[in-house]
């Protein structure tokens, strides 16, 4: 997909109007899941998508390398999400401390092995599990949420994700680890109650 995006971005940057529609659609598909997981609501995700594309089309001519278009688009989307957060009901920004995520902290609930073993290893996620996972991701503070979505859901490389988020590798890794721990903790609580 990123290759297609890069090719289309190069064409649009070069002024090819016939590539406009295809680039807009490809970018929307690529960014939609990010917007949905960030905002939690389809309507908000559509708003973020439109704001992102507006900014992207206004400044695409300044993009130096079309090969970097994916990280660049996610960076624009990140800014659109943060702008939206200022205007609406996003959770306030906070940091996740490692201490609160340590195994013996918090509710002290440890996962029972059998419950995790029952999770589908290779098959598609069922709707309930997907909803639980989305809900767990949505409770993360926005910067942690973005990090986890870009690295683990969208599969960006550490370099691309750091570029998209405007952070260094150390901060990226710290946030990713804490975000994963927080989601794991929520998943464990859900599995135990099931």
């Amino acid at each position: 997909v990123s290759d297609d995006l890069a090719t289309l971005a190069a064409a649009v940057k070069g002024g090819d109007e016939s590539a406009f529609e295809a680039f807009a659609q490809a970018a929307r598909r690529r960014l939609y899941r990010f917007g949905q997981l960030m905002c939690g609501q389809r309507e908000d995700a559509e708003d973020v998508l439109q704001d992102t594309l507006l900014t992207a089309f206004r400044s695409l001519h300044r993009l130096k390398s079309p090969d970097a278009v994916q990280a660049w688009l996610f960076r624009v989307a990140r800014n659109a999400c943060l702008m939206k957060r200022r205007r609406s009901k996003f959770a306030p920004q906070r940091e996740l401390s490692l201490e609160e995520l340590m195994p013996e902290a918090g509710d002290g609930a440890q996962p029972r092995v059998e419950e995790w073993k029952a999770l589908p290893e290779k098959s598609a996620l069922n709707q309930e599990l997907r909803d639980r996972l989305s809900a767990a991701i949505l409770t993360l503070p926005p910067l942690y949420r973005m990090t986890l979505i870009l690295r683990d859901v969208e599969g960006l490389s550490p370099e691309e994700a750091a570029q998209a988020l405007g952070v260094n590798q150390k901060a990226l890794k710290m946030r990713l680890h804490r975000a994963r721990l927080a989601v794991r903790k929520q998943l464990a609580a859900y599995l135990e109650k099931r």
Binding site: V12, G15, F20, E21, A24, Q25, R28, R29, Y32, R33, Q36, L37, A45, E46, L49, Q50, L53, L54, F57, R58, S59, L60, H61, R62, L98, M102, P103, E104, G108, Q110, P111, V113, W116, L119, E121, A124, L125, L129, R130, L133, S134, I137, L148, D152, V153, E154, G155, P158, K173, L176, H177, R180, L181, V183, R184, L187, A188
Partner: protein, 104 residues
């Protein structure tokens, strides 16, 4: 199951790095040795690995935006055409200029 040993807690901060293959050989070997002796950490790491796997599989789920509405398309096309009309070099020159030309 509780993780009481200080060693468990020291390794705790490095588990994502371990899963992502980002640790040095020495650090990774230390974790492997610890996991061989500590069932709690082994289970914890396995559940963290599963969490990451589940997140990765969210990518395969079908998530598609609604069709691009005509009004939204017109707005995007107008923004792009307007940006095309302004030569990029001129934009940069204006941005870098210390004072507007008419102020000299």
């Amino acid at each position: 199951m509780k993780h009481k040993s200080q060693k468990c807690l020291r390794l705790f901060a490095k588990l994502s790095g371990f899963l992502d293959g980002e640790l040095s050989k020495t650090e990774a070997a230390a974790i492997r040795r610890h996991l061989a002796d500590c069932r709690n950490c082994e289970v914890f790491l396995d559940t963290l690995r599963q969490t990451v796997e589940l997140c990765r599989r969210m990518h395969t789920t079908k998530a598609a935006p609604g069709p691009l509405k005509a009004a939204a398309r017109r707005q995007l096309l107008a923004a792009w055409r307007a940006a095309k009309i302004t030569p990029p070099d001129a934009t940069l020159r204006r941005a870098r200029s210390p004072r507007p030309p008419d102020a000299r």
